[in-house]
């Protein structure tokens, strides 16, 4: 896929997928996507019920899984050309990931959890002048500044998810992937969480890929995609 095909102002797309196939067991594809593209700075709502191959697609985008055939290009870099170690480094530098729940390392403080990507990868650290200050600033914007030195086990689920967002955002990576981050939150907390998430993603200028089965959230995003329609393997009854 040529860069000029990118939908926004000709800049490099955050994610570009072409003829992507993946199977855990040979001959049984769980992902089969002919073309998918997220522009830089776009907020995308990916509607994916279980069995649609959502988890696998996120694994591929994160570079944890390697495609069987086809191309998955992140920020202009074709991940299939990278070794698994290089994909790990690429992820560390350019991607922030928020899980559904249990996002935090139980033996690190909140502050240490937020700065963990910077401490683990030089490439991420080089994007931040002062990880401590960055963590502080993010924590203030996400309204968790008072919790920075707490034990993560003392946090509510909503607070934990905000810490996870702060960790994903530190160093302003180009792509933020959220895997059902609000499923454990009640409606009020969910709305507040989304407000903060959007504000901070916009501040960082990142692309947001937000996966959920809760279609009521879709209206807040630039674009909504149904994975079941994109993934030709999904109807075959994948995982």
């Amino acid at each position: 896929m040529s860069d000029s095909a990118a939908s926004r102002g000709g800049s490099t797309p955050a994610v570009a997928i072409r003829d992507l196939r993946f199977a855990y067991v040979a001959g049984r594809d769980v992902i089969d996507i002919s073309a998918l593209e997220f522009a830089a700075g776009e907020t995308v709502f990916l509607h994916g019920p279980s069995g649609s191959g959502k988890t696998t697609l996120l694994g591929l985008i994160a570079g944890v899984l390697a495609p069987r055939t086809g191309h998955l290009t992140l920020l202009g870099t074709d991940l299939s050309t990278l070794s698994s170690g290089a994909r790990d480094r690429f992820r560390a530098a350019h991607l922030g990931y928020v899980f559904q729940m249990f996002n935090l390392s139980p033996y690190l403080s909140v502050r240490e959890n937020i700065t963990l990507p910077c401490r683990l990868a030089a490439s991420r650290r080089s994007r931040v002048t002062d990880p401590e200050a960055a963590a502080q600033a993010l924590a203030e914007r996400l309204e968790i500044a008072g919790l920075l030195d707490s034990r993560v086990t003392a946090l509510s689920v909503g607070q934990q998810q905000r810490v996870a967002v702060a960790r994903a955002l530190i160093g302003a990576p180009e792509l933020i992937v959220c895997d059902e981050p609000t499923s454990a939150l009640d409606a009020d907390r969910r709305d507040r969480f989304l407000e903060l998430l959007f504000a901070n993603v916009a501040e960082a200028g990142s692309t947001l890929l937000f996966v959920s089965h809760d279609l009521s959230l879709a209206g807040r995003f630039d674009r909504t995609l149904a994975l079941r329609e994109l993934n030709r393997a999904a109807t075959m009854g994948g995982i």
Partner: protein
């Protein structure tokens, strides 16, 4: 450095299991290193039982028997040596001093040794000579000096009356009641067989037996009083003028045609004896090594058991950019940290234990435990333990690696 800190924090997070694992490794290390220390202490005490003596001479017999009967108060003498033979060797130009030993009598199961004043001036153990808590060496044929343990066990003090018996059994029917001895001196504790012996003069021994004979008492075995000259002895210790002449003198004595003798070099005989009884230490070492293996397996099990619950933790690390290799390193580091800390704790336990128990052990067993730095054997042990501990971590690490590849960012929990 980050990984080490993560490994440490992670271990601390599972403090109870980590602590118990560390303790089990520490205990097995302590056992291994402790045995090494005790072995050395025992060996030094053993080798120090007799010092400064160049030759021990007994009637022709086994090397070990001569050593055991003379120095350790065990087994029976190989036979008797006539006074004339003793005199002849004492006059040998290479000989500087001699200490005669006449064994064969006992007092309530404790050995009685007939000797001369030379014993109290010449005999050396661990580079110390025989000293007295109270009193002094026997001067007349009715005086006895007793070892510290004899005094303690039998409750004797200076002036106590002691009746000696023939033979070494605790209960003897042939008591030399007609010739009692008085305690003249109590010897300082030596932690050698001296503590368990009674010392009388050769004259005392002879006088006792003569009285017996005159009274028509029984006589059994050596030493048999002779009609002329002093009674025979059972052994004698020799100090040579020149150490280089020792071997020559030993050969001459062993080839003595007039009276067959066995002359042994104490150091050599002790080393031989140690080799025989030292095989027990191999057994101890085997047990300690097995304990260590159990400890390492325990650590492996603890790490394996933790893996299931840590899949989420691994996924988090993966999400922030850690590769499977980082996961492997983390687990290997954890086992390495546990093994290293376990080894250090074990060594600390040994040294702490020695400091606390040193005086008690010396008083009780006569084994001087010293705080010497780790020897090469111990360093090899520790190196092997740390390396083996780290390598053991590879097993759960391999499993974690497989898990992290299979799980990616979505551990199936």
């Amino acid at each position: 450095m980050l990984l080490l800190s993560l490994a440490w924090r992670s271990l601390r997070n599972r403090a109870v299991i980590s602590g118990l694992t560390l303790l089990s490794i520490a205990l097995s290390v302590a056992l291994l290193v402790g045995i090494e220390h005790i072995r050395r202490g025992v060996r030094e005490s053993f080798a120090g039982t007799i010092k400064g003596t160049d030759l021990i001479v007994g009637a022709r017999g086994g090397t070990t028997q001569v050593l055991l009967s003379t120095v350790f108060g065990m087994s029976s003498p190989t036979g008797s040596i006539s006074w004339a033979t003793y005199e002849r060797w004492r006059a040998h130009p290479a000989v500087r001093w001699t200490i005669p030993y006449a064994l064969g009598d006992a007092h309530k199961g404790q050995r009685v040794i007939g000797t001369t004043a030379e014993f109290f001036t010449r005999y050396r153990f661990r580079d110390r000579s025989v000293t007295f808590t109270e009193g002094g060496p026997p001067a007349t044929d009715r005086e006895v000096a007793i070892g510290a343990e004899v005094a303690e066990r039998l409750g004797y003090t200076l002036g106590s009356e002691v009746v000696l018996a023939h033979g070494v059994a605790a209960v003897s029917f042939a008591e030399h009641t007609a010739h009692p001895f008085k305690v003249r001196g109590i010897i300082d504790r030596t932690f050698t067989p001296i503590d368990r012996a009674l010392y009388v003069t050769l004259d005392g021994l002879t006088a006792m037996h003569e009285v017996e004979e005159g009274a028509g008492g029984l006589m059994m075995g050596p030493p048999t009083p002779q009609t002329e000259g002093p009674a025979p002895i059972t052994a004698f210790l020799v100090g040579t003028k020149n150490r280089f002449e020792t071997l020559q003198l030993q050969r001459e004595m062993n080839e003595d045609r007039a009276e067959p003798l066995t002359a042994i070099i104490p150091g050599v005989a002790l080393a031989q004896l140690w080799q025989t009884i030292g095989s027990a230490e191999v057994g101890l070492r085997v047990v300690a090594t097995l304990t260590l293996i159990v400890g390492l397996i325990g650590m492996c099990v603890a790490l394996f058991a933790s893996l299931e619950s840590r899949r989420r933790e691994m996924a988090i690390l993966r999400a922030v950019g850690a590769g499977p290799r980082t996961i492997v390193s983390l687990l290997v580091l954890e086992s390495g940290v546990l093994a290293t800390l376990g080894a250090l704790t074990g060594v600390a336990m040994v040294y702490g234990g020695i400091v606390l128990a040193r005086s008690a052990v010396e008083a009780r067993f006569g084994v001087a435990l010293t705080l010497h730095p780790l020897g090469s054997t111990e360093w090899i042990y520790l190196g092997v333990i740390v390396v083996a501990g780290t390598l053991v971590g590879l097993l759960p690490a391999w499993r974690a690696y497989r898990n992290s590849l299979a799980d990616g960012l979505s551990p199936s929990l």
